[in-house]
Symmetry: none
Subunit: 212 residues, 2 copies
DNA sequence: GTAATAATACCACTTTGGGGGTATTAAAGC
DNA sequence: GCTTTAATACCCCCAAAGTGGTATTATTAC
């Protein structure tokens, strides 16, 4: 019997999931919580094999929960269970060490397979996610999108994030404690690397490609 | 026994809901579909008391389903069951004749109460929704993000789309066969409506809010 | 018939963005 | 040691964005 902790802010979804699994499935949702902050307490009380984790939650989001688990020293396989199929979320959660990624429009047999695999420390990706990753890696015209992104430095991604918030050159400079000239240089380098004509296109591209 | 049809694109949610109700609840989810277009066929085959309807779905959204039901001459109480608490959605569905509105982060007893009320042709609004409506009426239009979007005209959305592609004022003007001055006026009005400081923030906001 | 809205267009002005350079420093790779 | 890369910073210049107005016309709403 695989013991699962479900973290999802939608109570109804949680209750539904809980009553969906019977002894025959070999899977039991032993606990449901809507607040990620409660996870450490729960893990100390209960024996858990797999964590089923949603991304968009009010108190602390899925990414935050992954960081929390790492900082607290918990080493449990995490299966992301979410409605988001955007590359941005997939990439972020995998970077944080998620063992698998499945969508809420999956079927029960698919979820069972995913939980079983993840409990054995195998990776699971929903077929739709695989396609998404494939498209992502294949990228745009001629050049590889993933490579373009890899060419960006951490600082450059930081700059993009600031610009996306509507900050202008001066605001970014003040926020990062650097000169306006430097911000300008960074922006220029970024646009050159990504092949965008202006900041507006840079933002669109960055969001589409999951850079920010 | 209240017989319910659930329309939701997330298979897992549907299966969970189905197994959540037992005979004791006096409620049975007799059918789950992920495609709103199948509703007329289902209603002709099965006896249904209440329709539980999600809003965001790929083939046809909740608003579209409401229209479909009306056009086909079906008169069944509809309870909206969705994650969206934005006034935009609440208002639209109520305009189309929804009998109630409940959120996915409600509890099972709340849902049971909602289904019972709606089946008796009484209205049901989740407490959080009531607050939302109260805020809306108190703050007037344009008081939250979702309503800001409704204030945009079709032309303005078209302009945003062009800007997101990296087109500058002149390029947009040429594409839409209008003057650069007009584009500038539109952009200004859009930024004023959405409360953004510059084009970069405008793009971020528009993508996040699903305007483009 | 009047009020409100959407789409159009213009003027004048200031600020910011975007393109061309060049250069120094520290860290990382070979 | 030498080279490469990332991050920093400055110069000049012009185009574009952004801000303050005003205004006409057609359509929709009441």
């Amino acid at each position: 019997m695989i013991k699962v902790l479900l973290v999802d802010d939608h109570q109804l979804f949680g209750e539904g999931m809980r009553s969906m699994f019977t002894a025959e499935d070999g899977i039991a949702i032993v606990k449901v919580t809507t607040n990620g902050h409660q996870i450490p307490t729960i893990l100390k009380d209960l024996e858990i094999d797999v964590i089923l984790l949603d991304i968009s939650m009010p108190q602390i989001d899925g990414i935050g929960v992954m960081e929390l688990l790492k900082n607290e020293g918990f080493d449990l396989p995490v299966l992301m269970l979410t409605m988001h199929k955007e590359m941005k979320y997939i990439r972020r959660t995998l970077e944080k060490g998620a063992q698998g990624y499945i969508l809420k429009d999956a079927s029960k047999p698919e979820l069972v397979e995913a939980i079983q695999k993840v409990s054995r420390r195998e990776n699971y990706f929903h077929p739709k996610i695989n396609n998404q990753i494939f498209d992502y890696l294949r990228g745009g015209k001629g050049s590889n999108a993933a490579d373009l992104i890899n060419e960006l430095s951490e600082r450059e991604i930081e700059i993009i994030g600031c610009l996306a918030k509507g900050m202008n050159g001066r605001a970014v400079a003040e926020a990062l404690f650097i000169s306006e000239h430097t911000v300008k240089t960074h922006r220029r380098n970024i646009m050159h690397k990504l092949g965008t004509k202006n900041t507006a296109e840079l933002i669109t591209f960055s969001i589409e490609q999951g850079i920010i």
